[in-house]
C-alpha cells in the first residue's frame, strides 16, 4: 500500500503544469530564430527605406520620398525593364527547354540515367564560375567563339560589347545554368503522373502530340507553375553572373535591379534609396508570385 501511495504521489496528471507550457517552450527557439533572421532584417530594411542617408549615416526621415523618387529615376526604370525582360525571356526558355528535356528523359532507354546525371551538372556549378567560363567563351579578343570564328576564316565575335548581344548572352548563360532546375522539377512531376490515363488516351485515339497537349501539360500544370514561380523569384535576384560578365554594361544593357541596387547601396552609399529599391523589388516579386499562384489555383480542378 505504501508503494502505491508513493507511486501516485509521483504521478503527474496529463494536461497540467509543465504540460501546458511545454509546446510554447519547444517553439520558442524557432520563433526567436525566425524573428532574428527574418522579421527583424525585413523591418529594418523597410525602416531604412524611409530614411535619407548621407556619407553612410541616416540623416532624417523622408517618408515615401525614396519610393516616389524611384519612378522618376531613368536608371531605375531602365533596370526594371531590363530585369523584367531578362526574367521573362530566361524563364520562358528554361521552362520550354526543361520541359522538352524532361519529357525526353522520362522515357526509359539505354543510358538515360547517365544523361539525367549529366543534364543537372550546370546547376551544381558555382554561379561565379559559370560566369567566368562564359566570359572566356564570349571575350572578343581570345574567347572561344572568336577562336572558332577565326579558325573558320571569320572575324572576332563581339558579344559583350554589343547591347542586344550582351543581353542575350546573359540570357543564354542563365538558360544554360538553370534549365537543369526546371528539368529536374518537371522530370519528377512527369514521373509522378499516373500511367493509365496516358494509355487510355492512346487507346482513345490520341496522337503523341495530342497526348502532350490534352493530358501531359494539363496534368503537369501545378508542377509547371511551381517551377516557373521558383525560377522567376530566383531570376529576379540574379547578380553574380552579371557582376562577372558585364557589370551591367555595355551602357546599361544588362543592368539588372540587383546590380543597380547593389551599386546604389555600396558604391554610392545611398542606403535609404537602395533599401526602397529592394523593398519595391520584393513587392514586385511577391505580386508576381501571388499572381502565379492564383492562376495556378484557377487551373487546378477542385
Amino acid at each position: 500500500m505504501s508503494v502505491v501511495a508513493r507511486l501516485s504521489a509521483n504521478v503527474r496528471r496529463q494536461g497540467e503544469g509543465l504540460d501546458l507550457a511545454l509546446p510554447y517552450l519547444l517553439l520558442a527557439p524557432a520563433v526567436l530564430f525566425a524573428f532574428a533572421v527574418l522579421v527583424y532584417p525585413i523591418w529594418d530594411g523597410i525602416r531604412a527605406s524611409t530614411m535619407s542617408y548621407r556619407y553612410g549615416k541616416a540623416v532624417g526621415w523622408v517618408g515615401f520620398d525614396n519610393y516616389t523618387r524611384l519612378w522618376s529615376d531613368p536608371q531605375f526604370l531602365n533596370a526594371l525593364w531590363v530585369t523584367v525582360s531578362f526574367v521573362a525571356l530566361a524563364v520562358a526558355f528554361e521552362t520550354v527547354l526543361g520541359l522538352a528535356l524532361a519529357l525526353f528523359c522520362a522515357n526509359e532507354f539505354r543510358g538515360v540515367r547517365l544523361l539525367r546525371g549529366i543534364l543537372i551538372i550546370p546547376m551544381v556549378i558555382t554561379p561565379v564560375v559559370v560566369a567566368i567560363v562564359f566570359r572566356l567563351i564570349y571575350a572578343s579578343d581570345a574567347g572561344m567563339l572568336t577562336v572558332v570564328s577565326q579558325s573558320l576564316g571569320g572575324g572576332p565575335v563581339e558579344i559583350l560589347g554589343h547591347p542586344a548581344r550582351a543581353f542575350l548572352g546573359l540570357v543564354a548563360l542563365d538558360v544554360w545554368e538553370w534549365t537543369p532546375l526546371e528539368f529536374l522539377i518537371l522530370l519528377a512531376g512527369i514521373q509522378s503522373l499516373p500511367v493509365e490515363p496516358f494509355e487510355a488516351a492512346r487507346v482513345d485515339g490520341a496522337s503523341p502530340w495530342r497526348v502532350l497537349l490534352d493530358h501531359t501539360l494539363p496534368m503537369l500544370k501545378p508542377v509547371l507553375a511551381i517551377a516557373i514561380v521558383l525560377r522567376t523569384i530566383d531570376a529576379f535576384g540574379t547578380f553574380d553572373q552579371v557582376f562577372v560578365l558585364t557589370r551591367g554594361g555595355p551602357g546599361e544593357a544588362t543592368k539588372l535591379l540587383s546590380i543597380y541596387g547593389y551599386d546604389t547601396a555600396f558604391k554610392f552609399q545611398d542606403t535609404g534609396y537602395a533599401a526602397a529599391l529592394f523593398v519595391t523589388m520584393g513587392l514586385l516579386i511577391l505580386a508576381a508570385a501571388l499572381a502565379a499562384v492564383r492562376i495556378m489555383k484557377g487551373m487546378t480542378p477542385p
Partner: protein
C-alpha cells in the same frame, strides 16, 4: 464489330516469358473472359491486343485487319482499365466526350452521344463533376461510358470490377453483361475472379503461366475441365482431387472401394489415370464403415447459411463436401464419404483429363 484472333503470339520481358505462343480466336459479337491467377499472362494478352505492348512474335488481327504493329489509336478499340484511368483534369462530360473530340466529331453530335450514353448508365447528373469528386462505382460507370460512347470494333476490359466492393461488384457484373449483350460488340474481359468469368462470359479462356489451358463456354469449363488446373481453379470450393488405384471390383480411393462402370474403367486403365476428381456437390456424407464409401474424420464444418461445407480428412488427403443447410457434426468425429463415379473425372499423371464426367448422369 469484328472477330479477334491471336495467332502464335509470344511476349517476353527480358528473360521472363509472359506469353508462350497464344492461339485464341474470339468470334464476332462474343463476350470472352480471360481467366487465370495473377501473372498468368491474361493482362499481357489484352495489352498486346490494345497495342500498349508489342508482341515478341506472332500476329494479332481484328476482323480481317492485321493490327500487330499498329498504334493503339489505329486499332478501333475501346478499353476499360482496372484503375478506370479517367482524365483527372477533365470533367465527366469531357472525359466521355474525349474519344469523339479526338475524332473531330462536331460539338452537337458529341453532346447528343454523351447525353445518350450518360442516360444509359444513369450518370447524367454527374457530367459537370471532376473524377476525384466521384465514388468508385461512379468512376467505373464513367469509364464504361467513355468506352461505349463510340462504336469500336472491340471492347477490352482489364479487371474493371476488381477495385469495387463485393456488393457493387455483383450489381455491376449484371449491368455490364446486359450492356455488352445489347451492344453486341466483341468483348475481351480480363479477370481473376471465376465468378465474373462464369456469370458474364459466352466463352471463358483459362490461362496459366502464359499458356492457354482451355477455351469453352462456362458450363463446359465447369463440367468438362480440360485438365486438373482448370478443374481446381474453377469452382468454389474447388474440385476434390485424390490419388486413385484400380482394383478388381472398382477403384480404391483413400482406402475405400467405389464401383466404376466397365467402359469407364477400361478407358481409365488405357489412359494411365492416376487421380480422381469430384466436385463437392457430388459427394455425400454417409455413416462410417459403410461399403462403397471412404472413411475419414471431420476436420472442420463451415455453415454457409444456404448450405454447409464439411472438410473431411481421409488417409490420402482431404475432401470438401457440400451438404444441406443446418448440418452439424463434431470436429474430430468419424465420417464416411461416398460419391457416384459417373460424376467424377480422371486425370493422368500429367494432369490432363482423360475421362470426363459422364454427361448423361448429371448433378443431383
Amino acid at each position: 464489330m469484328s472477330a479477334v484472333t491471336f495467332s502464335g503470339v509470344e511476349k517476353s520481358f527480358g528473360s521472363v516469358a509472359a506469353l508462350r505462343s497464344l492461339d485464341l480466336a474470339v468470334p464476332d459479337h462474343a463476350f470472352l473472359a480471360l481467366l487465370g491467377p495473377s501473372g498468368c499472362g491474361k493482362t499481357t494478352a489484352l495489352r498486346i491486343l490494345a497495342g500498349l505492348e508489342l508482341p515478341t512474335a506472332g500476329k494479332v488481327s481484328i476482323g480481317d485487319r492485321d493490327v500487330t504493329r499498329l498504334q493503339p489509336r489505329d486499332r478501333d478499340i475501346a478499353m476499360v482499365f482496372q484503375s478506370y484511368a479517367l482524365y483527372p483534369h477533365m470533367t465527366v462530360y469531357d472525359n466521355i466526350r474525349y474519344p469523339l473530340r479526338i475524332r473531330n466529331m462536331s460539338e452537337s453530335e458529341c453532346r447528343k452521344k454523351v447525353t445518350d450514353v450518360a442516360a444509359t448508365l444513369e450518370i447524367g447528373h454527374l457530367l459537370d463533376r471532376f473524377p476525384r469528386q466521384l465514388s468508385g462505382g461512379q468512376r467505373q460507370r464513367i469509364a464504361l461510358a467513355r468506352a461505349i460512347v463510340r462504336d469500336p470494333a472491340a471492347f477490352l476490359m482489364d479487371e474493371p470490377l476488381s477495385n469495387l466492393d463485393a456488393r457493387l461488384r455483383m450489381t455491376m457484373r449484371g449491368e455490364i453483361k446486359r450492356l455488352c449483350h445489347s451492344l453486341g460488340t466483341t468483348t475481351l474481359y480480363v479477370t481473376h475472379d471465376q465468378a465474373e468469368a462464369l456469370t458474364m462470359a459466352d466463352l471463358v479462356a483459362v490461362m496459366r503461366d502464359g499458356v492457354l489451358q482451355q477455351v469453352a463456354p462456362p458450363a463446359e469449363i465447369y463440367d468438362q475441365p480440360a485438365n486438373r488446373f482448370v478443374a481446381t481453379f474453377v469452382g468454389v470450393p474447388p474440385m476434390n482431387v485424390l490419388p486413385v488405384e484400380f482394383g478388381r471390383d472398382g477403384i480404391q480411393v483413400a482406402g475405400g472401394v467405389l464401383g466404376l462402370s466397365d467402359d469407364r474403367r477400361t478407358a481409365c486403365l488405357k489412359a494411365g489415370v492416376s487421380d480422381v476428381g469430384i466436385r463437392p456437390e457430388d459427394v455425400e456424407l454417409v455413416a462410417p464403415n459403410q461399403p462403397n464409401a471412404l472413411n475419414g474424420e471431420v476436420y472442420v464444418v463451415e455453415p454457409m447459411g444456404n448450405e454447409t461445407l464439411v472438410d473431411v480428412r481421409v488417409s490420402t488427403g482431404r475432401l470438401v463436401v457440400r451438404t444441406r443447410r443446418g448440418f452439424t457434426a463434431a470436429i474430430g468425429s468419424a465420417a464416411g464419404v461416398a460419391f457416384d463415379t459417373h460424376n467424377a473425372c480422371f486425370f493422368d499423371a500429367q494432369g490432363l483429363t482423360r475421362v470426363h464426367r459422364a454427361p448423361s448422369k448429371g448433378g443431383e
